[in-house]
Symmetry: C3
Subunit: 644 residues, 3 copies
């Protein structure tokens, strides 16, 4: 696999006179890709039904002539103002019933039929025109589905669509829904699908089955919205189609979207995310303020590699994915927006490549000195002087030139990340702050502290093959098929907490969970605990926030200081009955690795490594040099060992 | 008085096949009571006007045949979905104007006439059918009035009813209202009652007289709603009628509701309340995470005993009351939901009996593995295995069998708790966090730290007889009759702060407060203070949050280190001019007890005692054994001394 | 200039029988001024078109006969309830779309044409009647524009008016607006002014150009609303017209309003402001709980002196201004409302005089024992006994009698405070908590810690004359004219951070800022930083929260410990590239003063001084005596030196 760089460009923002020079400088740096067009609907269709293609034809020509390949975005994330006049009810509604008005972006409800038709119309026109264009080498649908909490809408359109979705799900049988949701509780039974409202503004918590269904429906609306565009584009081109996902976005199932796309990509903003959504303590935020969290990006890289194999027939551990937007300097949107440490843009780029990225594109080419993102750095300053990112990109290009192409190999460890499981945890976390994404991330951190490369996998039997160990924390809903496949796959398997704790409609199963084949463990009681009240484990570590009381004949391998079992094991399966802290997870990972004969290397703090098929990369996320098994790494240092 | 146990059961949640076995097991444990029916409207009346009584007839028969007595709940807390079609405007509206929709429970506005008529209709049908049933030995109206902040509604129905209520209160004379409220301030005078809106969404604080009136109106709406049901039930049965109140619910006057009911009951969730509404510091929450606050439940027991004597002709210190729902294990609704320490369910049960409960019913029989409360423990696990609460209930039954029946006697100390006073403090707390409920609770804690049994009493002269000491902190509105009765009752009396600080319409009286007979004390100025800026008292302790400047010839018995008087005394009356911390309240309580010749015993931390007419109970709320005057009590230990 | 005292009185609140006695006691204390009428619309016009002038005629007569001068307020801040019946859509709407209902005060939208006409009508009637009255010696328009966040309204009336304002601003050319706002970004271009909505409830941040325009529009609406009243009053009287501004009110441009008024006045509540809006840490709030912040009031005094010279032809450093409402004791509206230290009312009064106040009026005469402000202290207690403020006012009167009249002189230092700059910072602060008001206040503190008297000035060339030093922190928008005038004015000039960082429509200029004549400094990159991550400066102090990367040939005079330049200097101009902490600002101020040959005196903590033309005042804001260059000042002490 060849590794390439790119950038994001908005010709409509700049005078025509400088396009050629911009393209020349992109090519000079060595960029391959340039993404354009994704916010330009108003410039393409200034008024309903009148079109201006000339500028876009021209821009693609200029870029292509400079040797660049264009990624063309569909402009559906920013419908023009006239669209609101045509479809006043197309805007989304928030959980409090307030409209989410025109004036920024993503001002649409995924369920609005009229807007969906408008999107199909414009995508058809764009794809018809540029599908055959030789410079357009890839496509992007819309932009950052879900950004600004836009998946879930409580609009009239959403209500209508939800009723339809439910009716289809339950074959029009309202009694089946009442039974599945156990609506007998609190007299919540419906007489018809038309009585079902969206699960917001209820007096107290709505039925979790109701919430879960609405989450799945909302996810499906994104999938269908995206599929409609893909189907149209594909009729006009063989170029691969991507979407650029956001970080820590769990409001829709990316795997489901990914099944319709050749390429998965995501927008990586390490410093913004550290302040905004990485769940970090203030101490951690201070320590990594200019470097970003050492695991957060890597975790997404591995997730999006998994999303990138949802469509294709990729080998285990592989998957087509890009960083479509890479933070190049300070951004504008986090609570605090520091500048990266010198070298971090290079580090982030190589880190993406180490995790299998085909391309890393910097957002954006030139910092726009206007509108919402005027404080978002680019590769160029607003006055067109090279910003630090341009220098670091040049350095990466030089290094790439000296690096052979690679193939990817399956990691020794598979870690299941499931969007549907995130819906379950968010529907009823049971204790404040209990979050599936964080649970899996903390397992990922423990694996990385042990120096391991990790594949993120889906909870599907076909994905379990070939791993020495599989971790499946927090899968609240597990089918019998998945349980059996995990039991049979030959890997050391870690499950729990909450594994199999609910059925497909959020009912707690009887016999009680986990009801796992070959494992005599029963969760007899569950408690959530104040985070400042850890339950210490004998031998070190603790459980924090969530703890199950378990019973059964399986061997106890972790217990509280008071002697209550916390983890039990039978055969190759281990059940962990609580939310382990870092020390507890390190102990679990080490036990698993010993049993699975996986070699581990204890990483110094802030240092991480990752193997490709032929390389082992080392990254130092610290502001100071770090001693590692391969020598001293400078601050923000990257080292690549060639593997035999 | 005989002491009994019970549980809450939902036959509609379980297959018909297991009802007999459930009933048999309830009886085997020794339960007397089983509450049913309170959320079953939809199963009783599946569509408007069609009824299915068979299942309920059957369930009552099964339970009764097992020797159990049924408490039958009216189903008005959960109107079916079709009710919303009939009365779309019956749902409540929150302070921000948002509807509180169908999808959980308590989705009604107390002021909606249409819904009130529907309630009367269904209660008439239920009471007519089951009033004569010999197995139905008690009734419950609705469920947890006010839970989920449902007393106060800003709906159109509430606005209409409020205008009517005001017009009646002021005999249709808008000038009388303007005068009483002093609406001349800020040109707020009305020309007619129809101009008066609800006191939400005003630009800044509304007139406190307006807010206070709305609070009283809202309380009256609950009283009237309940009375309508009671009147109907009573026409069909002589069985006692109860309501199950919630913890720390101060949005309506429970005494007023209690005047219509034979039995007061409340729902006691010690661990949920500690996290959710006990006003505890994180340190306190950690210390008592698995035991609950040592005073919060006892305080409610004593309040609800007082509510339980509101109707009847009970002797001082007595009153019919139950725990209708007792926490049996972890619950689902608090921010964190830990499991109780082993033994706590037994302790909570005996504690209720020590405070005079007739019955303690565990909520619920079997944990429901579905819907909102699926993580709420029961006496049985979802798989029907005995949960810890079943074992502890059995232990209590054995102990009860060995314990003679008791009578209750008046406590030496009366502590006034007044819901109307809570309305005053909430209307204008003057300083952030100043809360009447907490003020009285902190006085209660001090009394309990001194080993005293306490009666909660109402601010009514008839209730003042026979006490050696009466504490009346924070009664912002006191009639002349109440003042004189306190002055004359023969007890040592503690009043202040804010005593008599407002008239019946929230006006500050002149001459200035407290204007108490025989006590030359005048509050010349009032200040609220940052809680982190305590004002130290000479001799120990401090005032926190609220302090009055007082003058007058009464003897100063507490003063600040700077020499300003803080408490003054004349004859048997003491005025406390600030919010004392624990040490200051201990000093006051000890002074009072010495003067009133009440013996005190300093309790070890977390240990509490309580006397009935013939017993003295000791409770250890600690996680470790505690040394007490009667020996070492184990963690969660209960000891009962027989008094001569 | 003669210095006088006054109070605020509400004859309509009190029985007619006590008016003479009240007036006599006011005169006895020595008060000159009594403000009345500003909330009395309902008493003047009880029903639409019927009037009751008798009581007001009478009240003015009584007060005037006692030798008092009346300040008559227009009653437009509290339209009567019947007004809402006439104009239901006149109420403002908050950012979430909720109405701000009748029931308190300021329940109007500045943009409602119907209400504007009503205001003109009533002001015409009041001015016509009392303009000629010899006792009415000054006027006040409305009351506290903007109090309770009332400048900005999202009503339909505001939307209509905003579109008109925009159309006028851009000469009806929507393309000009799209270009100026760079609406090409995210396809935000409009086809007509009628498509432009208010910038609330957008999916994510609206275009900052949109927000800025709305802020300016909202400010203009206040200016126009006020001007309409002034024009009417002026037709009937020569008495000066004032408005009483609030503390830390940055939602409209006070200078613009001030251009229409003879007198600027503000309402000074030192203790309320410390808790409510002074941006203080809890430690600072504890330290000054009973004294108020040592700089917050002085800063406002100097700002309002500047506002007071906006209309007239006052010499530099002068300007007509009053304290229209002076806190006299505990207030009712802050989170905590402590009593002032004895002596503070006197200190606050003299502090105002030291900063040039003509008059200080205590709010209010007698504490009202009713309605919203019943816990707001007055000069009298509710029972008419003298409150402490009356005693302290008497003391001030005695001292005033012994003090000659003064003239004011220009301070050595001018500090620019610009309301438009506040709009810029609030539009896009870039980092959480970055606030222009606080930035300027922190510079002001540093100047005061150096013992300097300060003039607040506007960013206008005509105001730059005669200063030895001018500080202009944070002026995000600077015209070329202002830059040149600062460069040429002869003073030492301190600019930065963010100086000239945006054009008139919030675009970042290219060449990059500050683009200041004669100063080779370019801001190449900008970062906001967690406040708990200060960047240490070589030599002491730090930058906190905001830091620019700068380049250019100007001399570096401050740099980080790592060697990055933070402040640069060329000629008399210094650019500071970050938000300095107290130590850094002290260093900058000292450097500037040395260069400008301004003598400084290091103030002890909590001590401040201020010079008039002939006096130097010293104020001790501590609770303990303080050693100063002029001897030991007692707690709350004031000392006045006569200058030669």
């Amino acid at each position: 696999m060849k590794r390439t760089l790119g950038t994001c460009y908005y010709p409509e923002h700049w005078p025509r006179e400088i396009w050629e020079e911009d393209a020349r400088r992109m090519a000079e740096i060595g960029l391959t890709w340039v993404r354009i067009g994704e916010f330009a609907w108003k410039r393409i269709e200034p008024t309903p039904g009148t079109f201006d293609w000339a500028w876009l034809d021209d821009a693609i020509e200029v870029l292509g002539n400079a040797g660049l390949k264009v990624v063309l975005g569909t402009p559906t994330a920013t419908p023009p103002r006239w669209m609101i006049d045509k479809h006043p009810d197309m805007i989304a509604v928030d959980a409090e019933g307030k409209p989410r008005k025109f004036g920024s972006r993503r001002h649409y409800c995924f369920s609005h039929e009229g807007y969906r038709e408008e999107c199909k119309r414009i995508v058809e026109l764009v794809a018809e025109r540029y599908g055959p264009n030789p410079h357009v080498a890839a496509w992007q649908t819309d932009n950052e589905y879900g950004c600004h909490d836009t998946v879930i809408s409580y609009s009239d359109a959403a209500r209508t669509a939800f009723r339809k979705w439910l009716s289809e799900t339950f074959d029009g049988d309202i009694t089946a829904l009442n039974d599945a949701w156990d609506n007998v509780f609190w007299s919540m039974e419906y007489d018809s699908f038309d009585q079902i409202d969206l699960p917001n503004l209820t007096v107290t918590e709505p039925n979790p089955a109701h919430t879960l269904a609405f989450r799945r429906f909302s996810s499906d609306q994104v999938v269908n919205f995206n599929r409609a565009q893909v189907d149209i584009i594909r009729a006009h081109t063989d170029a691969p189609i991507a979407h650029n996902y956001m970080g820590r976005e769990t409001a829709f199932d990316h795997y489901d979207v990914g099944e319709d796309l050749e390429i998965s990509s995501w927008d990586s903003y390490p410093l913004g995310f550290l302040e905004d959504r990485a769940g970090a303590t203030p101490e951690h935020q201070r320590k990594y303020a200019r470097q970003g969290d050492p695991d957060f990006q890597a975790f997404h890289h591995d997730i999006y590699r998994a999303v990138g194999r949802a469509q294709g027939n990729h080998p285990q551990g592989a998957g087509r994915w890009w960083v479509m937007e890479q933070q190049p300097g300070p951004v504008n949107w986090a609570p605090y927006n520091p500048a990266p440490l010198p070298g971090m843009v290079r580090l982030w780029t190589w880190e993406a490549f180490a995790h299998g990225a085909e391309a890393v594109c910097y957002f954006r080419w030139r910092q726009a000195p206007f509108a919402q993102e005027q404080m978002h750095a680019g590769m160029l300053r607003p006055d067109s002087v090279d910003a630090p990112a341009a220098h670091e990109a040049r350095m990466v290009m030089e290094e790439l030139a000296a690096t052979p192409d690679v193939q990817f190999q399956q990691a020794p460890v598979g870690l299941i990340f499931d969007f549907d499981a995130a819906f379950y945890w968010e529907t009823q976390p049971h204790g404040a702050g209990l979050d599936y994404f964080m649970l899996v991330l903390e397992h990922y951190r423990a694996l990385r502290r042990a120096g391991l490369s990790v594949d993120i996998i889906r909870p599907r039997p076909s994905e379990f093959e070939g791993y020495k160990a599989i971790l499946a924390p927090g899968l609240m809903h597990m089918t019998d098929e998945v349980k059996q496949a995990l039991a049979d796959c030959g890997a050391e398997v870690l499950i729990g907490p909450r594994s199999g704790a609910r059925n497909a409609h959020f009912r707690m199963p009887v016999p009680l969970p986990p009801a796992f084949p070959g494992l005599d463990v029963t969760v007899s009681r569950v408690e959530s605990i104040r985070p400042d009240l850890p339950v210490a484990l004998a031998g070190g570590g603790a459980v924090e926030g969530y703890l199950e009381e378990i019973e059964g004949s399986a061997e106890t391998i972790l217990e509280t200081e008071a002697g209550a079992p916390v983890a039990k094991q039978a055969g190759r399966v281990t059940y962990m009955a609580g939310w382990g802290d870092a020390k507890a997870l390190d102990r679990l990972v080490n036990m698993l690795c010993v049993r699975a004969r996986i070699a581990t290397v204890k990483m110094p703090e802030g240092v991480r490594c990752r193997e490709t098929g032929s390389e082992r990369f080392w990254f130092n996320h610290n502001t100071t040099p770090a001693e590692t098994p391969v020598g001293i790494l400078p601050a923000a240092g990257v080292l690549c060992e060639t593997l035999d």
